[in-house]
């Protein structure tokens, strides 16, 4: 069954809840190698999205995602605001006009989102950023879908890959973002942005499972 606009809105609402629950956790990760605001930043942005969600039902999925992107860009700030904002904007552009989603649309959106993040932040894989979670997730999604998996299963694979990617940020040294100033002292800490990326992807997988996508 394709995912409807309502399903997408429900999934976004879930993302808002999950980031709210993980606000302190993300900020704590950012205290260790950053400036102790990633949780507050993400929560501020997604709470702003949560406020807008009720009014978004009668547009299209592309427009909804663009609104989310614009909201993130204008409320989050910091590094994560433009990065996630651009990701959502690009995903929205990729899904312009859609009233419902087929599994393949997920990949289109995911690839666009990742491209947006890379274009904006110019990070490479292994720089200890959100890219380290999103890149393997998109790869896993691609592979799973190519293998004929249904959306929920493909997203499950993506979520597992994102988690692995996130954990993979622990032993490495940051080369982008604020954590890079720490040099070797950044080793041993999990990247906050990779963590929020994993949380968002896991939430998508859970939402897909619930709606039977």
């Amino acid at each position: 069954m394709p995912a409807t606009i309502g399903d997408v809105v429900k999934c976004l609402a879930k993302m808002c809840d999950v980031l709210h629950e993980n606000k302190e956790y993300l900020t704590e990760l950012d205290s260790a190698i950053g400036d102790a605001d990633h949780g507050t930043n993400m929560d501020r942005g997604f709470q702003a999205i949560a406020k807008k969600l009720p009014d978004l039902g009668d547009t299209d999925i592309g427009a909804i995602l663009k609104t989310c992107g614009m909201t993130l860009i204008t409320t989050v700030g910091g590094a994560s605001g433009p990065l996630y904002g651009t990701a959502f904007m690009q995903a929205g552009t990729a899904l312009a006009g859609k009233q419902e989603l087929e599994p393949g649309d997920l990949l289109v959106a995911g690839e666009a989102a990742l491209k947006g993040i890379l274009m904006r932040g110019k990070a490479n894989l292994g720089d200890k950023t959100m890219v380290d979670a999103v890149t393997p997730a998109v790869d896993a999604l691609r592979q799973a879908l190519a293998g004929g998996a249904k959306a929920a299963d493909a997203l499950e694979q993506a979520s597992i890959a994102a988690e692995t990617g996130m954990k993979g940020t622990i032993p490495i040294q940051a080369r982008k973002g604020r954590a890079s100033y720490l040099g070797e002292r950044s080793i041993g800490h999990q990247d906050p942005g990779a963590t929020s990326s994993f949380l968002l992807i896991r939430t998508m997988a859970e939402a897909a499972r619930e709606i039977g996508f």
Binding site: S31, D37, G81, R120, Y181, G183
Partner: protein, 357 residues
């Protein structure tokens, strides 16, 4: 966490409301989106200087808005870069028709948000240049990091470029001036204590009773090394030497090329300080450091500069780029030629820096 605040999420808004009241006549405040601007903006025919960054560094940047310095400052949440819409609205408000200079401290978030803002402002027909400040020698290289952070040189750049704009320099000349201050500026800082981000509710890091962070960032990012505290003289010498003995620093930055109509990568080199150079010396307190300690540091800095053949021609001692209530300090040296010194001396009337008027 003990702070004189109400709700953490209202800190920046209420601060701006306070400033609107206490500095009425000098500045005005826009709350949606948040920025501070010159009471007499727009100044027709003048290049408009706009800066901004996370809050918690007061008086930077809102305290540097006024005649002879910034036209507007965008206030982000505490330690969080402001957003492009703030920067765009600020530009619209202070645009005097001669172009906009965004002065951007080199942090990933600030750089990205100001680039987006510049694109938006250009789409509205404004001429815009973004100049990066990246003077923190605690960050050694730019290949393996996000590049040197923008710290103390920001104040000097905003003052000098602001004076140039006030004098009628065009956008290219003001941008060159700002780039020049940065190319000649180097800073180094340390912290005795952490700060506490209001929304986080607890100190960003913990330090032992006899420990300091050398090479601290202004957002409470841990420094490069944690070490035992030493005497003010020893610490001052360490900071001063890390600046004075820093070699040429080269890196690639993103700048807007007006002819090409696109962003281009430009390689910039900061030449090392050398004997005989004249400098503006800046001893900065991090927010919780008594003046008395800053003067003790300045005394030693003066001596070290003398020994190394640097002549301090102007100085600034005080808490101008802070990290909330953090105890600590930073030293900035900016090599200054005659033009820069004259522009430094030019009248300025802002909440945080004022002389001559």
């Amino acid at each position: 966490m003990k702070k004189l605040i109400n709700k953490p999420e209202n800190v920046v808004k209420e601060e701006l409301e306070g400033m609107a009241l206490s500095y009425a006549g000098m500045i005005k405040v826009n709350l949606e989106p948040k920025f501070v601007y010159r009471a007499d903006a727009p100044v027709q025919g003048k290049v408009a200087l706009i800066s901004g960054g996370g809050s918690g560094h007061e008086p930077m940047h809102g305290g540097f808005v006024g005649k002879g310095m910034l036209d507007a400052a965008c206030a982000g949440e505490v330690f969080t870069s402001p957003t492009p819409d703030q920067m765009l609205e600020a530009a619209k408000k202070v645009n005097g028709g001669a172009g906009i200079l965004y002065i951007v401290k080199n942090y990933t978030g600030d750089v990205m948000n100001f680039e987006m803002a510049a694109d938006l402002a250009r789409a509205e027909g404004m001429k815009v240049q973004n100049i990066l400040i990246d003077d923190d020698v605690a960050v050694k290289d730019s290949l393996w990091t996000a590049g040197r952070r923008g710290v103390g040189a920001t104040v000097i750049a905003e003052k000098i470029a602001g004076a140039g704009a006030e004098k009628g320099y065009d956008l290219g000349k003001v941008a060159d001036l700002c780039r020049k201050v940065n190319a000649n500026g180097r800073s180094m800082g340390l912290a005795l204590t952490s700060c506490t981000v209001p929304a986080a509710g607890k100190p960003t890091f913990e330090l032992g009773d006899d420990e300091i962070e050398m090479g601290i960032g202004i957002h409470g990012e841990p420094g490069r090394t944690r070490m035992k505290i030493k005497s003010a003289d020893e610490l001052t010498e360490m900071m001063a030497l890390s600046i004075i003995e820093d070699g040429d620093y080269s890196r690639t930055v993103h700048e807007w090329d007006d002819k090409k109509g696109d962003w281009v990568d430009v390689t910039l080199v900061n030449k090392a300080l050398k004997e005989g150079d004249q400098v503006i010396a800046f001893v900065n307190g991090m927010g919780g450091t008594p003046n008395i300690e800053l003067q003790i540091i300045y005394r030693k800095l003066h001596e070290v500069c003398g020994k190394k053949g640097l002549k301090i021609v102007r100085n600034l001692v005080g808490s101008y780029i802070t990290s909330l209530e953090m105890q600590g300090c930073s030293i900035t040296l900016v090599r200054a030629d005659q033009e820069m010194v004259e522009l430094w001396d030019a009248p300025v009337k802002t909440p945080g820096l004022r002389w001559g008027i």
